[in-house]
């Protein structure tokens, strides 16, 4: 939190709980904590990657930040202002400054409107520009994401996957946001198009000083793109740190298992992958103590009893929530 002066987004102990109803009369309702006490910051002009397996709460966290879905938190601030409220109770300008890019670009676009109309529409909604300039601005945004004139009059179903995702990004960019929350923006695209979109995001960050929260389960993509990484497991963060350090020298056992799954650059460098026993537990009934302990190779007696907090590991901006990692770290000088 030492960077709070420069950070654009600060999330402090955010939780998202859903009520699961179950069968009438047979089973009672119970709360499912999809996200549990997550604290995270995104700096200005920084790209933060949020990784974790399916169902660990990445998307729920992203939706909570843009104001969709249930939120409880100690604090959530955007550029100093409190944003701990649902979307329809946020000031319009705040809505404008935080934009969300969807996983499924075809679903996120209205099938019956042309590309140009949909990219210009946010300007109409926010009355940011005079009517005459609106389409010119939309065209500029489309140029910014490397889309040509020929797609302006097309409908979403006539575009390729990469074009659609770039249209969605252009639609978010016309509003000149400060923070882009990208929820698995490339997982539906094939590899060559993934590269286009990722290079585009990096380029936009460099040119527009945009901050990006990039959610993905694809470690190679995250490693290539992000400055910092946050690793999530079953609704909690287990490790946070600069991308190269987290991948090069993972501290949390879960991160170790994850990074061992990345294919090495040369076969001779290959290390045996760490295999995790068992399945991810049910988020409605999480294990006691450290949520990872039933699958952890390094677990101790303490792990099943005490919940580890995310603590600094001494060297430059690294955090982990693990009793074992904490102890093996040399004392801070």
């Amino acid at each position: 939190m030492h960077e709070s002066r420069r950070s654009i987004l600060e999330v402090c102990e955010l939780s998202c709980r859903f009520r699961s109803r179950g069968l009438p009369f047979l089973s009672g309702s119970r709360d499912i904590g999809a996200v549990d006490g997550v604290s995270l910051t995104v700096g200005r002009g920084e790209i933060v990657g949020l990784v974790g397996e399916s169902g660990c709460g990445k998307s729920t966290l992203a939706k909570a930040i843009v104001g969709l879905g249930p939120i409880e938190a100690r604090a959530m601030r955007f550029d100093g202002t409190d944003i701990l409220r649902p979307l329809d109770r946020r000031p319009r300008d705040l809505i404008r400054r935080i934009q969300y890019v969807f996983q499924d670009p075809l679903g996120a676009l209205d099938p019956r409107r042309t590309v140009l109309y949909q990219v210009a529409e946010p300007l109409l909604i926010h009355r940011r520009t005079p009517d005459a300039e609106r389409f010119a601005r939309a065209r500029t945004a489309l140029r910014d994401v490397n889309l040509g004139e020929e797609i302006e009059a097309k409908y979403p179903h006539e575009l390729s996957g990469g074009q659609r995702q770039r249209v969605v990004i252009a639609r978010a960019l016309v509003l000149e946001p400060d923070l882009l929350v990208c929820d698995e923006p490339v997982s539906a695209l094939d590899v060559s198009i993934q590269a286009q979109v990722i290079n585009l995001l990096r380029d936009l960050r460099d040119r527009l000083d945009l901050s990006i929260l990039f959610i993905s389960h694809d470690l190679a993509v995250v490693r290539h793109l992000c400055d910092r990484i946050a690793v999530m497991y079953l609704g909690r963060l287990c490790e946070v740190g600069p991308a190269e350090q987290v991948f090069g020298d993972p501290r949390h056992p879960y991160t170790k298992a994850l990074t061992s799954a990345i294919p090495p650059s040369h076969p001779r460098l290959a290390k045996p992958p760490v295999r995790l026993p068992g399945e991810p537990p049910d988020p409605g009934d999480p294990p006691s103590g450290c949520r990872f302990h039933p699958r952890c190779g390094d677990r101790e007696a303490l792990c099943s009893r005490v919940v580890p907090t995310l603590e600094a590991l001494g060297d430059g901006g690294r955090f982990a929530a693990c009793h074992v990692a904490k102890r093996s770290t040399p004392a801070q000088c």
Binding site: V66, G67, L68, L87, D88, R92, I95, R96, Q99, Y100, F102, D104, L106, G107, A108, L109, D110, P111, R112, R113, E121, P122, I125, H126, Y155, H157, E158, V168, R171, A172, L175
Partner: protein
């Protein structure tokens, strides 16, 4: 869904229509267009005014019968009014009332369906209950009671026509709006800051319009029949105005001696409702994304 958006020119539309339709659908469209033309140009086509009496030619038979003449091709009624002219003016009035009723019904039903989808909770419960209530109640009885209590004038009559069938629009629109809200584009528009009014009017409505239009074409003939039934019973359009139903009603007294007074409008009612039903059926098959193998 997707390919209907790419239809742009009228010529392309006509080609697609020709390729996908059966002869009965083509004939239906032709008949409907003819009826619309008749309604639009009634003043020019009709040989006489619908109230003009020709007392020397009372109960004259149609032209192909003995004593028939080209002056009154479909004969005359009991006070010598030209049946052809009256049918022409009746088509205008009946179609106008049915169209107005259908449009009003669609507007009411769509708005109520949207309200239920927007506010959910008790509003939705109320709307759902009202829909069930309305569909359990025979509308004809309701219409008779309303007209009997409130008296009859043109405005009340059209209002009753408008209320007819609202529950079907409301049910369809409510369901489709619920589904559309969960779709990415509606959520995306919310995160862009769009107001609910914009999301519903500019995005969800165009996306579910095809279902509403299909329901309108299916509702239209029923409204025509309701109008003619009420007019037949004397609770609908009042003389001197004339509608297809009230022509049949007044022609009933002469059914044995001068059948043409009742049969001419009855044939028009039959053919028009049949044409609309066939066209509506075809449209529903065309626009329903689950029936793709055409």
């Amino acid at each position: 869904m997707a390919d209907t958006a790419s239809i742009s020119t009228p010529a392309a539309f006509a080609r697609r229509f020709w390729r996908s339709s059966s002869p009965s659908v083509r004939l239906s469209l032709l008949w409907i267009l003819a009826m619309v033309a008749v309604a639009a140009f009634a003043d020019l086509i009709a040989p006489f005014d619908y109230t003009a009496m020709d007392l020397r030619n009372r109960l004259a038979p149609p032209v192909w019968m003995e004593r028939g003449s080209w002056v009154h091709p479909l004969g005359t009624d009991d006070i010598g009014r030209d049946v052809l002219s009256r049918v022409i003016y009746s088509i205008r009035l009946s179609l106008f009332v049915a169209l107005l009723g259908t449009v009003i019904g669609a507007a009411i039903g769509t708005s109520i369906g949207f309200l239920a989808a927007r506010f959910r909770g008790w509003v939705d419960d109320l709307v759902t209950t009202a829909i069930d209530f309305q569909s359990a109640l025979p509308f004809f009885i309701l219409a008779l009671a309303t007209l009997a209590f409130l008296g009859n004038n043109f405005v009340i009559f059209v209002a009753v026509m408008g209320v007819y069938g609202w529950e079907r629009y409301a049910r369809i629109v409510r369901g489709m709006a619920f589904a559309a809200q969960a779709q990415g584009y509606a959520v995306a528009l919310r995160t862009l800051g769009a107001s609910p009014a914009r999301i519903y009017a500019a995005h969800i409505l165009p996306n579910i319009a095809s279902a509403i239009i299909v329901n309108m074409t299916l509702n239209f003939p029923e409204t025509v029949l309701l109008e003619t039934s009420l007019s037949f019973l004397g609770l609908g359009i009042q003389p001197p105005m004339t509608s297809l139903g009230n022509m049949v009603g007044f022609g009933r007294d002469y059914l044995l001696t001068a059948w043409w007074i009742a049969v001419s409008p009855a044939v028009v009612i039959f053919l028009t409702t049949l044409a609309f039903s066939l066209l509506g059926d075809w449209l529903r098959d065309r626009l329903d994304p689950t029936v793709k193998g055409r």
